[in-house]
């Protein structure tokens, strides 16, 4: 059951649909050969086509089409073998052609679905209406000169996929889960890097509220929502604004609103009446895009295992919990790391070490699994030493810390520092005897019925052995000697 929001007049349901713009990973732009690298000098990646010089013509980038098809297959969507590029006409300084080449009536990808994982462990299906290809605009810079605006056309003409969801999302948790899942899928597919802070993934959020069971309310479209956190925040704000407005007797206007992350509010950008008439029509410079079924099948063969498939496989073949599996598959590199480390070893133990120790440590430093100082094989080495009782779990933590710091192999550290677990009962007995001899009062108290003191003796023995004594052996021998 979707979360409801309390208002003065009762509970309200939030209805959300999202439009995600994802920049396609490609060396060159949608219709020109210019490079697409992020962070280049302004206007360093602009061809004659991108600057819309007179007489310039677009030529479709085949690789981008392949990426769109790949993405469509990744979200279980219908691939349209016939699609049409259309011009969306409007004037703006960073739109050199005076129109954006997009797809309107005939997009390359039709309906699909994305499964999202909710915090309570349930799974929900969110419908995807369509995915289409379009050109990105350039960037207007308003803060570089007191009276003029500057224009950077590096981004002009880069390929975007616009992925439109059905209004199936109910509330901020589902919205962030949707966005995160979509990003994960795109990253798995290698079709978008999902870096929202670099603008390569951007979301427009359509929000309306209604009393449960009522018809859909009037929606506001929130633009400029550029992080997962901002999605959450803008929904929280906008839902409250709409409920308050209606409960005070007002009505929600259909309009475009802008999210202001500094003021943490949405504000009106333009109303429906001011909406552009984009005068879409098929671009006469481009023929309709016809792709072959066989080509789509070929692309399908090259798809990687996708997050959901991987998650279910981890649960089944490694006997991991749903939660642990979700954590491990959230990035492809993470999952690969785990599988390399766990190969031929105790998978559950490996999962614990990856999640608790390694990811814990990396997260603290804001690092990614790719930056891990410990390689997957090395972590596997540590797991082996634990599994065959060469070192105890406690010692293993110290070894791990050294590995993390120096990048050395676990075995080398154990050898070098002499950390091998003592399992020789004679040696342990000798230590126990010393401890008993040194603590006559506690021995008497224990034997007099203070069972709790057993832990004291274990601690002393471990301390004397510098943690190397096998804990099971220590327990067994201590019990015998203290009788």
């Amino acid at each position: 059951m979707a979360k409801l929001t309390k208002g003065e007049t009762g509970e309200w349901e939030t209805v959300i649909g999202m439009e995600v713009h994802a920049q396609v990973i490609a060396k060159s732009k949608l219709f020109s050969g210019s490079a697409t690298t992020f962070g280049a000098e302004p206007n360093a990646q602009v061809s004659l086509v991108d600057a819309a010089m007179p007489g310039m013509l677009p030529v479709l980038n085949e690789h981008v089409v392949e990426q769109a098809v790949r993405t469509g297959l990744g979200i279980n969507a219908k691939i349209n073998l016939h699609s049409v590029f259309a011009r969306k006409n409007y004037f703006y300084a960073d739109l050199p052609q005076g129109y954006q080449i997009s797809q309107f009536e005939d997009p390359i990808v039709g309906t699909g679905t994305i499964e999202i994982d909710l915090p309570d462990g349930t799974i929900k299906e969110i419908g995807v209406t369509r995915l289409h290809l379009e050109q990105d605009a350039g960037k207007s810079l308003h803060d570089q000169h007191p009276t003029k605006s500057y224009v950077d056309l590096n981004r002009s003409g880069c390929a975007l996929m616009e992925i439109v969801s059905e209004p199936d999302i109910r509330g901020p948790e589902e919205a962030t889960a949707y966005l995160s899942k979509l990003r994960m899928i795109l990253r798995y597919l290698g079709t978008c890097d999902g870096n929202m802070d670099e603008g390569s993934m951007r979301a427009d959020v359509n929000i309306s509220v209604r009393k449960p069971g009522d018809e859909l309310g009037t929606r506001a479209e929130i633009k400029n929502v550029n992080s997962v956190k901002a999605v959450q925040q803008c929904i929280d704000y906008e839902v409250r604004r709409q409920i308050d407005l209606i409960e005070e007797g007002g009505t929600v206007k259909q309009e475009t609103r802008l999210w202001d992350p500094a003021k943490m509010e949405t504000r009106s950008m333009r109303s429906k009446e001011d909406a552009h008439d984009y005068r879409y029509f098929p671009d006469p410079d481009l023929l309709p895009l016809e792709i072959k079924h066989e080509w789509v099948e070929e692309i399908k063969q090259t798809l990687p295992e996708l997050p959901d498939q991987k998650k279910h496989r981890f649960m089944k073949s490694y006997d991991l919990s749903a939660y642990d599996s979700s954590v491990l598959i959230s990035e492809r590199a993470r999952a690969d790391f785990f599988e390399t480390a766990a190969k031929g070893r105790n998978a559950k133990l490996t999962a614990n070490w990856v999640i608790n120790e390694l990811l814990g440590g990396l997260n603290k430093e804001n690092k990614n699994i790719k930056d891990s100082p410990i390689k997957a094989e090395q972590l596997g080495g540590l797991i082996e030493l634990i599994s065959d009782n060469t070192i105890s779990g406690k010692i293993a933590k110290d070894v791990f810390a050294t590995m993390y710091e120096t990048g050395q192999d676990a075995a080398a550290i154990v050898e070098e520092k002499g950390l091998k677990q003592v399992t020789d009962t004679g040696a342990i007995e000798k230590i126990i005897d010393e401890v008993i001899a040194e603590n006559p009062d506690n021995v008497a108290a224990y034997q007099g019925g203070k069972d709790k003191l057993f832990g004291f003796f274990v601690g002393q023995v471990m301390k004397k052995s510098q943690g190397k004594a096998n804990p099971a052996a220590v327990n067994e021998l201590l019990k015998k000697k203290l009788k």
Partner: protein, 495 residues
């Protein structure tokens, strides 16, 4: 010996080969002809320095024995083709002073074939017009005069009026043009020159300022059919930079050119018999049929039932595409900028000052036709009509191999005539627009003079990619018509 400027391209090539004269001499003759004919206003930009340099290089190539198809031939280039380092205006104030850093594919092909560029010819602004009276750079004057009204300056047709006027006045041996709805064929008819528009997709549109992308097609003017074949051969070819350019080899049209049309079936579309068409034109059309019959062709009556809808459909589709194609002239990156209070103001001022009335009219028509609520009724309807018109031709070609029609419903008219009503002006294209909508090759060949002593043209429309048949029929008419008349000013100059 004939004056160098009066040669055909074929004869000039022979002369160059035989070392009767050099490319430099040939070019110099044309440069001085241009200098003494500036009253025609045929050129926006003259490029004598470039021409002489190219001519000298051509002479060197010829000396070393490696020559292209048009090596050393001085031609004029419509100022719609972007030329590297040479101002390209499209006849518009908004592009005044714009110097491209790139060469259009068509001009690059011509230069690769050794052609020499004399200059950039005047045209209707953004190729919108049928009289060359909408250019920001002034009207072009037709070298022909009405013998019954010799005081009036006549239009050279449009939009490629500078090119047609230059070729007719012997200022260039050939010229490039573009044809969207008749912009090569109609001016050719008005100036007694040969003009060919090939099949849509035959010439690359890359680097040609766009008017209506689905209709624009480059083509050629010259004074003989053979010369236009040579010109077109040097311009055409597949270009990966234009997605609508066809992946087809360019045939050797000039080599295969002949006047053997025995057994060909020539269709006469009954819908092209307009009420009120001048009798001279009707008579010339009949004469054309006779010539073809005498040459062994069979004349068949055909019907193109949707012809009457062609002009209205064209005047939706072309302005719709133009309204979008011309959006890039916004004052932001190149060309004219007229400052305003804000961005919107700058757009308004720039475009108000930069575009002329006809261009504004078509942008408004096109914007309207694409607007929400009107799109289906206008644009979509026009596209449906366009398909019906194409189907008309397909059906007609089940009965015949090519069509013969008049090129235009009148001879050249006086500058200022028909200016009061755009519809009257648009009617100039009534015979040329249908083939444009269907993407078919069409050619105008001068076939006679009317009672005012003005040239009239006959149009041959062919099947897609069958320029050869069009050229061969043109050659037959040319041979039968023996059109030798020259504009009065050319005759006077030669005397």
């Amino acid at each position: 010996m004939t004056k160098l400027t009066h040669l055909t391209i074929a004869k000039a090539l022979k002369g160059l080969k035989n070392k009767d004269f050099t490319a430099k001499e040939l070019t110099e003759a044309h440069i001085s002809a241009i200098e003494t004919s500036r009253s025609l206003n045929a050129f926006i930009t003259e490029t004598p320095d470039i021409a002489l340099k190219q001519a000298e290089e051509s002479d060197k190539r010829r000396a070393s024995g490696t020559t292209g198809l048009l090596d050393g031939i001085p031609i004029a280039v419509k100022d719609l083709f972007c030329t590297k380092g040479v101002q390209t205006t499209a006849g518009s104030h908004i592009l005044e002073g714009f110097i491209p850093t790139y060469e259009s594919t068509v001009t690059a092909n011509l230069f690769d074939n050794g052609a020499v560029m004399l200059g950039k010819t005047n045209l209707d602004e953004f190729a919108m017009g049928s009289s060359n009276t909408t250019s920001y750079f002034g009207n072009v004057i037709n070298p022909w005069k009405n013998q019954n009204k010799p005081e009036a300056d006549l239009v050279p047709g449009g939009s490629s009026g500078g090119s047609s006027s230059a070729v007719a006045a012997r200022l260039a041996l050939g010229a490039t043009g573009t044809d969207t709805g008749g912009s090569i064929r109609q001016p050719a008819a008005f100036t007694g020159t040969v003009g060919i528009k090939p099949t849509y997709g035959r010439c690359s549109r890359w680097g040609t300022v766009a008017f209506s992308s689905s209709l624009d097609q480059a083509g050629a003017f010259a004074r003989t059919v053979e010369d236009t074949a040579l010109m077109l051969q040097a311009m055409a070819g597949h270009d990966p930079k234009d997605s609508t350019s066809a992946q087809k080899d360019v045939p050797d049209w000039s080599a295969a050119l002949n006047d053997d049309i025995k057994g060909l079936k020539i269709g006469i579309p009954k819908e092209y018999r307009l009420d009120g068409m001048p009798e001279d034109i009707e008579k010339l059309w009949q004469q054309g049929m006779e010539w073809l019959k005498e040459s062994g062709a069979e004349i068949v009556d055909v019907s193109l039932p949707h012809t009457k809808y062609a002009l209205p459909a064209y005047y939706i589709i072309a302005p719709a595409e133009a309204s979008s194609n011309l959006a890039r002239y916004d004052g932001v990156r190149y060309g004219l900028r007229v400052e305003g209070e804000d961005l919107q103001g700058m757009y308004e001022n720039t475009r108000a000052e930069g575009f002329g009335d006809e261009v504004k009219r078509r942008i408004m028509i096109g914007t309207y036709a694409l607007s929400a609520g009107y799109y289906d009724a206008y644009y979509i309807k026009a596209q449906k009509v366009r398909r019906l018109i194409a189907e008309d031709f397909t059906k007609a070609y089940e009965q015949c191999d090519a069509l013969l029609t008049p090129t235009a419903p009148s001879a050249a008219f006086a500058i200022g005539e028909k200016e009061d009503d755009p519809i009257k002006m648009y009617l100039n294209d009534v015979f040329t627009v249908p083939a444009s909508l269907a993407g078919l090759p069409g050619m105008s060949v001068p076939a006679g003079l009317d009672h005012d002593g003005l040239p009239l043209g006959l149009q041959i429309i062919g099947k897609a990619w069958d320029e050869q048949t069009v050229l061969n029929i043109g050659k037959t008419i040319e041979k039968s018509a023996q059109f030798a008349a020259m504009p009065q000013m050319v005759v006077q100059k030669a005397a």
